[in-house]
Symmetry: C2
Subunit: 644 residues, 2 copies
C-alpha cells in the first residue's frame, strides 16, 4: 500500500494486499478466497435431481417407521393402517408438488416461502415463514443425522451407546466441510444419491417379488419394541397422530423451488420436470416401504431401524446388499443434513439483508461462505441432538410443523399472486422484489390449485399441532412467534438507527467548546505525556487528581507547580478511598452543565505493559471509567499510552 | 462538589461526598467507613494474651496427636516416646520464647520476621522470611480450620462426610467477618480464649489427679487407627520425624512480637510479660496432654481427635464437660485462623508498600481493611482444604517449615543487630526503617541467646525438611524460592518503571505533527460527528473506508463528495473481505514512517446501544482494533460515541 496521506487531497483508492494470517483456522477450513472468485455454474436435470433430492428422498428412511410407532400403541392389529395412511400422505405429496410446480414457473429467480410470502402477503407472514423454515433447517440436521446414526447402529449395535457422540461429531464434520465451502460440483452429490435410489429401488422391488411369489418371510430376531404396550384402541385421533408422524416424508420437497437459479436454461421448465421426477421417486419408495413392512412384521425400535429390518428380511441376512442399503441410507441422510447447511445460512443472510437478523449474518467469511450462519446451525442442532439423545422418535414431533407452516404461507402467497395476476390487463405488470407479475389467462385454475394446496397444508399443520402438541410440538408453537418478535425488534432497531443517522436536513456541526480533563495519579513522564497530548487537543485543559493518601497528594501538588505548565489542577478528596467514583461525579457535573455542541474529553494516561502479567501490578482506571460511563453522549474517553 | 473549572486557574481542592453505592456488598460487609475513622486503641496484658495467644495455644489441639501418629508406625511400644519428644519441643519453645522476648524490647514498633530481617540482613532474607510467613499464614488457616472441624466431627461423627464443605464454609464465614473489619475489642477474644484455657487446664488437672489416684482408665471404643500398621523399628529418623510433627506446637509464638504496638505503655515490658505467660501456658498444656495420652492408650485417627479421646476418658463419657472442652477447642482453632486473617493482609500490604507485591494490596477497602489480602488468603486456604480433604495429618508436613525459616531469619537478624549494637559507642545510634539501634552493654549475652535461637531453629528446619520431604515439605521448599523470585520480579518492574517515569532531566515535549485517521463505514450522522471531532483535534485529518462491497463503497464515495467537508478519503479495497486488518496495515505504515514527537490518533465512530442486546447487531470494530494494536507507542485510539 503506497499512499502518503500528506500529499493527496481528495478521494484515494488503494488495494490492500493484506491476507488473513495463516493460523490453525486456515489449516482447518482452507486458505482464504478472493471475492472475485465467487462460483457461477449451472446444472442439468439429472444432476439437479441429485443435488436437491437428498433431503426429500432421505425422509423415506424414517417416515414409515414413525407411522408404525404410533400405530403400535393400539397393538399389532392396528399396523394394517400403515399403508392406507401412507396413501393419504402421498395424495398430499401430489397436491404440494403440483402447487410448487406452479411456484417454480412464477418465480424463475427462486421462490422460497420467504420470498413468495414477502412479495404477496407482507412482512409478518414472510417473517413467520422464515422463522418456521429456519427452525426447520435446524431440525433437518438433527433428525437426518440422528436417523443416519440409527442406520449405522442398526448394523453395528456395539456403537449404540455412543450414538450422541457420533451424531455430534458428524454435525461438526459437516460444519467444517461447509466452512471450507462446498463446491456443489454435482458429481459429489450424484453418486451417493443415485446409489441410494438404486439400492432402495432394488430392495423394494426384490421385496415385492418375494412377496408376490410368497417367499418373503418375517423379521428374524426382531428388536425390542421401544414404545409402550398396546394401551389404546384405534381411534381417529390415533390415526391422525400416525398421519402427522408420516408427513415428515414431505420435508425437503420445497428444495427445488428455492434453488431454481442453479438450473440450466430453460430454468423453470428443467426445475419443474426435476420436481416431478423427485416426487415420483419419493412417492414410490415411501409407498413401497410402507407396504412391505406389513407382511414382514417389522417392529418400531430405537435399537434397529425399520429399513434395517426390511433389508435383512428381503436379502435373508446381513450380506453385501444389506450393507449397501444401510450405507446408502446413512450417506443420503448425512447429505440431507448438508442441504440444510446450504439453505440455513442463505436464508438467514436474506433475513439479515432485509434487516431482520444481525447484519453480520450477511458477511461472507474467508472462504466466501456465510460462516456465522453455518456455525449457528451446527451449534443449535448439536444441542438438540444432545438434549434429545439422538432419538429420531423424540425429535419428529418438533419436525414438519415448521415445514407445513411455510408450505401453507407459500401456497397462500401464490394464490394471492394469481388473484393479482387475474386483475391485471394484458401487457400490464407489477414489479415485486422477487419477481414480475403479469396477466395469466389460466389464473383461476392456478389460484384454485395453490389455494387448495394452502388449505390442505394448513389443515395438516393444525392436525399435527394438536396430535403432537404434548410430544414436543408445543416447543415450536412457542418458538416461532418468539423468533418473529425478535426479528421485528431487530428490524425496528435498524430502522430507527437509519432514520436517526439519515443525512436529511443535516447541517454540519461545529464544536462550541472542547473541555479536556486529564486524570493524574502521580506526576511523572507518563502523566506529563498525557498532559502534552491533552493540550494539543484544546486550550481548555483541567487535570484532576483523586486524593486518597494526603502525603501522596502533597507531592503531586508540589510537583505540579513545577511541571504542570501552568495548567489547572483539581484535587478531589476521596474520604472513602474510591478512585473512579469521584472522577465520575466530577465529569457527571461537567456533562450536566454542558451546552449543546460542547464536548468533554477525558484523557487517561495508560501504562502499557511489556509482559501480560504486569497488568496485574497496575490499576485499570481507564477500563473502570469506561464501564462506569458506558459511552455517555458528548463524552469521549481517550487512553494515552506510555511505555517503559 | 461545586467547582467550575472555567473560572479557576491554579490548584483547586474539593472534598467529594461521593459514597460507594449501596449494593449487596454493603449488605454483606457493612457500610463504608471514612479514612479518618481508623481505630486506635491499646490493650493490657490480660486482654493482650487473649488476642495474641489463640494461634499458639490452639496448636495443643493437634501437636501431641501428630507426634503419636508418626510413632505409631513403629507399633505401640514406640508410643512411650511421645513424652520425651514433647519435652525436647518444650525446650525449643523456651529458647524461641527467650529469643523473641529480646526482639520485643529491641523493636517496640513491632518486630515481625520481615522487618527484623529487612533491617539487619537485607532484602533477600527479608523477602524469604516474608514469603515463608505468607505461606505459613495460609497453612495456619487450613490446619486450624481442619483441626477445628475434626474436633466437631469427633463429637458428631454424622458430620464426618461433610468435613470439607464445613471447613470451606467456615473459611468463607471468617473472610466475611474480616471484610466487615474485626473490632479487636478484646472481650470478643478474651471470653473464648480463657474458656479454652480453663477447660483444657481442668481436663489436664483432672486427668493427672485420676492418673495419680489410679482411677484413670483407657479409651473406651477407641477409633480405628488411620496410619499404616507397624512397619518400622524405632529409628533415629522416626524419632526426628515425630519431633518435626510436634514442632507445630511452636507456631503462633511470634504473634506478640508482630503486634507490640497494640499494647498499653510500657509496651515492650507488657508485651514481653504476656509472651512469657503465653509460653508457660502453652508448655504446660502441651506437656500435660502429651503425658496423659500415654496411659489412656489414645489412638491417632482421622475419625476422632486425641483431644476428644482424652476428654471422654477423663470425664467418663461425652457429658457436659466433654462438650465444653470440644467446643472450646473448636472455637480457639477458628480464632487461630482468624489471627492469620489479621496478619496475612498486613504483611502482604507491607510487602506491597516496599514494591514486592502488587501496589493494590496496600489499598484499604470500603471497611478500612486490606480486602484483597483477605480474599486472597480465603481463596488459597480453601483450595488447600479441598485438595488435602481437610486432613490435619496431610497438611501438617507443609506447616511449620515456613515458621521455622522465619524464626531462624528473625533470630539471625537479631544476632546481627546485637553485633552492630556492640560496635557502637555510647550515645551513637543507627536509624533503621524499623527501629533505632543504640549501644547495649549486654550485647554479647543477647547475641549468644539470639544466635543460639537462630541455630536451633535452623537445625529444626533442616530436620523437618528432610524427614517430611516426601510427605509434602517439598512443596514449600519449591514454593518459597518461587515466591521470592516473583517478589523480586515485581520489585524490578516497579523500580524500572519509576526510573523511566522519573522527571530527572525532563524537558517538556511538543508534538511536531498530529495525524488523525477517521474510520468511516458509511456516511451518516454518526460518522460525520466523528469527523467533526477529528477536525477539532488537528488540521491533518484523513478518513479511511474499507471497501468490501463495491456498491456500498460507491455510495460512500458519492456522499463524501457532498458531506466530506473537503477532507481526504482513502478507500482501502479489501479483496478478502477483512475489516480490521487493512486498517491495521494502513496505520502500521503511518507509524513506521512517523517522526519522533509525531502522534497518530485513530478516531472510530462508536455506536452506543440503548439496550445491551443491540451490541450484537453491530460490528465491534473499535474493540478489535484496540486488541489488534494493544497500545502501540505513538498511537492513540479514540471512540467517538453516537447514540440514537
Amino acid at each position: 500500500m503506497e499512499i502518503d496521506s500528506l500529499g493527496d487531497i481528495g478521494i484515494v483508492e488503494s488495494s490492500s494486499k493484506v491476507k488473513p494470517a495463516r493460523t490453525w483456522r486456515s489449516w482447518l477450513v482452507g486458505n482464504p478466497l478472493l471475492t472475485a472468485d465467487a462460483p457461477n455454474q449451472t446444472i442439468g436435470k439429472l444432476i439437479g435431481l441429485a443435488v436437491f433430492a437428498s433431503d426429500a428422498l432421505s425422509s423415506t428412511a424414517y417416515a414409515s417407521q414413525e407411522i408404525l410407532l404410533i400405530l403400535a400403541y393400539a397393538g399389532s392389529s392396528a399396523l394394517g393402517y400403515v399403508f392406507p395412511i401412507s396413501l393419504a400422505i402421498v395424495s398430499l405429496m401430489v397436491i404440494v408438488s403440483i402447487s410448487y410446480e406452479q411456484t417454480i414457473h412464477a418465480y424463475p429467480g427462486g421462490g422460497g416461502a420467504y420470498i413468495v410470502a414477502r412479495d404477496n402477503l407482507g412482512e409478518l407472514p414472510a417473517q413467520t415463514a422464515g422463522a418456521a423454515l429456519l427452525t426447520d433447517y435446524i431440525l433437518t440436521v438433527a433428525v437426518s443425522i440422528s436417523s443416519g446414526v440409527a442406520q449405522i447402529t442398526s448394523a453395528f449395535p456395539i456403537l449404540f451407546p455412543y450414538r450422541v457422540e457420533i451424531a455430534v461429531s458428524m454435525v461438526l464434520f459437516i460444519m467444517v466441510i461447509n466452512l471450507r465451502g462446498v463446491k456443489e460440483s454435482g458429481t459429489t452429490f450424484a453418486i451417493p444419491t443415485y446409489f441410494f435410489v438404486f439400492t432402495m429401488v432394488t430392495t423394494v422391488a426384490v421385496g415385492f417379488f418375494r412377496y408376490l411369489t410368497g417367499s418373503l418371510g418375517t423379521v428374524v430376531n426382531p428388536p425390542e419394541f421401544s414404545g409402550a404396550e398396546a394401551i389404546t384402541a384405534v381411534t381417529p385421533f390415533l390415526l391422525l397422530h400416525a398421519f402427522s408422524s408420516g408427513t415428515s416424508a414431505l420435508t425437503g420437497i420445497e428444495a427445488i423451488s428455492n434453488g431454481i437459479t442453479a438450473f440450466k436454461e430453460p430454468r423453470s421448465k428443467n426445475a419443474g420436470i426435476t420436481l416431478i421426477w423427485m416426487s415420483s421417486i419419493l412417492a414410490t419408495l415411501f409407498l413401497g416401504i410402507s407396504f412391505l413392512i406389513g407382511p414382514i412384521h417389522a417392529v418400531p425400535s430405537e435399537a434397529e431401524t425399520v429399513i434395517s429390518q426390511l433389508a435383512r428380511t428381503v436379502f435373508d441376512g446381513q450380506g453385501a446388499f444389506y450393507l449397501a442399503l444401510i450405507g446408502g441410507t446413512a450417506i443420503i441422510l448425512i447429505m440431507a443434513a448438508n442441504t440444510a447447511f446450504a439453505d440455513f445460512p442463505r436464508l438467514s443472510a436474506l433475513h439479515a439483508g432485509d434487516g431482520f437478523l444481525p447484519r453480520q449474518m450477511t458477511f461472507k467469511g474467508s472462504r466466501l461462505v456465510y460462516s456465522r450462519g453455518i456455525i449457528t446451525l451446527a451449534a443449535v442442532s448439536s444441542l438438540l441432538i444432545i438434549v434429545f439423545k439422538a432419538s429420531v422418535t423424540r425429535l419428529i414431533p418438533l419436525y414438519a410443523i415448521g415445514v407445513f407452516l411455510s408450505f401453507s404461507l407459500s401456497q397462500a402467497g401464490m394464490a394471492r399472486r394469481w388473484w393479482k395476476s387475474g386483475h391485471l390487463k394484458k401487457g400490464e405488470q407489477i414489479v415485486e422484489p422477487g419477481s414480475i407479475v403479469t396477466h395469466d389467462d389460466k389464473w383461476i385454475v392456478k389460484l384454485i390449485i395453490n389455494g387448495f394446496g394452502a388449505m390442505c397444508t394448513l389443515v395438516v399443520m393444525v392436525v399435527f399441532a394438536i396430535t403432537k402438541f404434548k410430544d414436543g410440538a408445543w416447543i415450536i408453537i412457542i418458538l416461532v412467534p418468539v423468533l418473529v418478535t425478535i426479528f421485528f425488534s431487530i428490524h425496528r432497531h435498524y430502522r430507527n438507527l437509519a432514520k436517526k443517522l439519515s443525512l436529511q436536513n443535516y447541517h454540519s456541526m461545529s464544536i462550541s467548546r472542547h473541555r479536556v480533563v486529564v486524570l493524574i495519579a502521580g506526576v511523572h513522564r507518563g502523566s506529563l505525556a498525557a498532559l502534552t497530548y491533552a493540550r494539543s487537543l484544546s486550550e481548555d485543559v483541567t487535570s484532576v487528581h483523586v486524593s486518597i493518601d494526603p502525603a501522596e497528594s502533597q507531592k503531586v501538588r508540589e510537583k505540579w507547580e513545577i511541571y504542570g505548565e501552568g495548567t489547572r489542577l483539581v484535587i478531589l478528596d476521596s474520604p472513602y478511598r474510591l478512585l473512579v467514583e469521584p472522577v465520575m461525579e466530577y465529569i457527571g457535573n461537567l456533562l450536566a452543565k454542558r451546552l449543546p455542541n460542547e464536548i468533554v474529553t477525558v484523557v487517561v494516561p495508560q501504562f502499557v505493559p511489556r509482559h501480560w502479567w504486569e497488568n496485574f501490578l497496575h490499576n485499570q482506571t481507564a477500563l473502570m471509567l469506561r464501564f462506569g460511563f458506558l459511552f455517555k453522549p458528548g463524552l469521549v474517553i481517550i487512553e494515552v499510552p506510555y511505555q517503559v
